[in-house]
Amino acid sequence: MGHPCAVIGVGQTKHDVKRIDVSIAGLVREAAQRALDDAGLGWREIDAVVLGKAPDMFEGVVMPELYLADALGAVGKPMLRVHTAGSVGGSTAIVAASLVQAGVHERVLTVAFEKQSESNAMWALTVHVPFQQAIVAGAGGYFSPLIRAYIRRSGAPEDTGIRVALKDRKNALKNPYSHLVFPDISFEQIANSPMLWDPIRYLETCPSSDGACAMVLTSAGAATRAPHRPAWVRATAMKSEPTMFAGRDQVNPQAGRDCAAELYKKAGITAPRRELDVAEIYVPFSWFEPMWMENLGFAPEGEGWKMTYEGATALGGDMPVNPSGGVLSSNPIGASGMLRFAEAALQVRGMAGEHQVEGARLALGHAYGGGSQFFSMWIVGAEQA
């Protein structure tokens, strides 16, 4: 809706457990500079900056947009900082896109990051707030019971998760920015890795990464001068639901289904699995792939696991999912959502290198956060409409 919006630059950092070679400012600048270079633009040509990241406790810096104003060339410009939990990388891109779609700005730089090695993410995620129930099992402990519920509801084979992890870890070998790189990864290696929260094993889990992702979004007019093919934002959607309420379906959340439905409607898509060429979706624990296949309407309820089993979601399949290696391979929490959106853009620009899906023209970027309650999604295409 509104003015057309193009992605003309994408940049990301090498994601790693600890980027001790850069400060927080250095980390975001690495991604931002790459996005600007890709876009053929200088810092001065950017009209506004939209920053996104997860809780400030991950670095111990309150409202880091203030500290980062200089590093991101935002002095004298509008600057916003979005925080929508895990979906933040996606929401940030959507806020940035809306600035262009609203006709408020011509060229917007959007950056999402996390340098969680600087604080203690585990502590931040489970800090015990008085009068509230203590979170005793960590993020994995929160999601594992839901996965068990999915397995019960769908009758999915127990090794479905291992297959997802194998696929994503193999894809990561084709992504030079990946944090986790296992050159000899195998089914057995994953199956034999320690069980953390049954049924999730160590190698079926996302890492904790330092990393940043950036994009340059512009109007159609500014996109004509871009050195490389742009990706066009065809639709965006965001939906939220409460964390907990009676009868809530956390396995196939309504907010996710509604978000996808609105997204497809806006993009004029009626058969998503057929019409989309590739999907970069937020899978922090292997089993989320089959669950999201259903939530996104790619497979009927209870059959998402079949797509994994049949190889449909592999790089050569009919619906490649996470050719970048996904969140399982790199997880700077605040950036992970934007990485999905950015990788989707790279695909339709034909710039995904070794993990390029041949002939990709229409791609989905997806992010979620909180207790599977915040969803942000976009569809980008090689054509403007």
């Binding site: 203590a134 005793v136 019971p145 999730i200 907990m244 009676a246």
Partner: protein, 162 residues
């Protein structure tokens, strides 16, 4: 010439005073009396425990207090195999969603006094309280849940809470 500085450690210490809020206060006082108190939404009539003073679904204040049984059904669970800083319990142990009888949302708690591989969906469990003299206004009064000698609840009876 010394090595360049690449990082610094800056310990941060902040003190906060938290307010339980009205609903939590009622619940925690109930805890100190060995009671589990929930609240019912005036619109959808669902019972929330622990109560939050509002129905997250309807967006209205909840006031009607409902006393909830300490018995319930495991709706889903996971087996935790990695140690946690906060806990003295040694893994592996079962962490479960428990639908207490009379409540409409599951309560998250550990299942102990039971081999972890026997924990299953539909299992009937009951709250294990700390000794009465140790009760305070806190969740911690309920140490964990243990199996009840009752037949499993049928899947249909709790499947909508999955």
């Amino acid at each position: 010439m010394s090595e360049p500085v690449t990082s610094i450690k800056t310990p941060i210490r902040l003190e906060y005073s938290y307010t339980a809020g009205r609903a939590s206060t009622r619940f925690l006082r109930g805890m100190s009396e060995g009671r589990i108190l929930g609240q019912r939404c005036p619109l959808c009539r669902k019972v929330y425990v622990p109560p939050r003073g509002s129905c997250p679904r309807c967006g209205v204040a909840t006031q009607e207090e409902v006393e909830i049984s300490g018995k319930g059904t495991v709706t889903t669970f996971c087996i935790v195999r990695i140690p946690s800083e906060n806990l003295s319990v040694k893994p592996p142990y079962a962490a479960a969603h428990i639908l207490l009888d009379g409540a409409d949302i599951p309560f998250f708690a550990l299942i102990l006094e039971c081999p972890f591989d026997q924990v299953r969906m539909g299992m009937r469990v009951e709250a294990v309280w700390a000794p009465r003299e140790e009760w305070t206004a806190s969740f911690g009064n309920i140490r964990h849940f243990r199996p009840l000698a009752e037949p499993d609840a049928p899947f249909d009876s709790f499947k909508e809470h999955l």
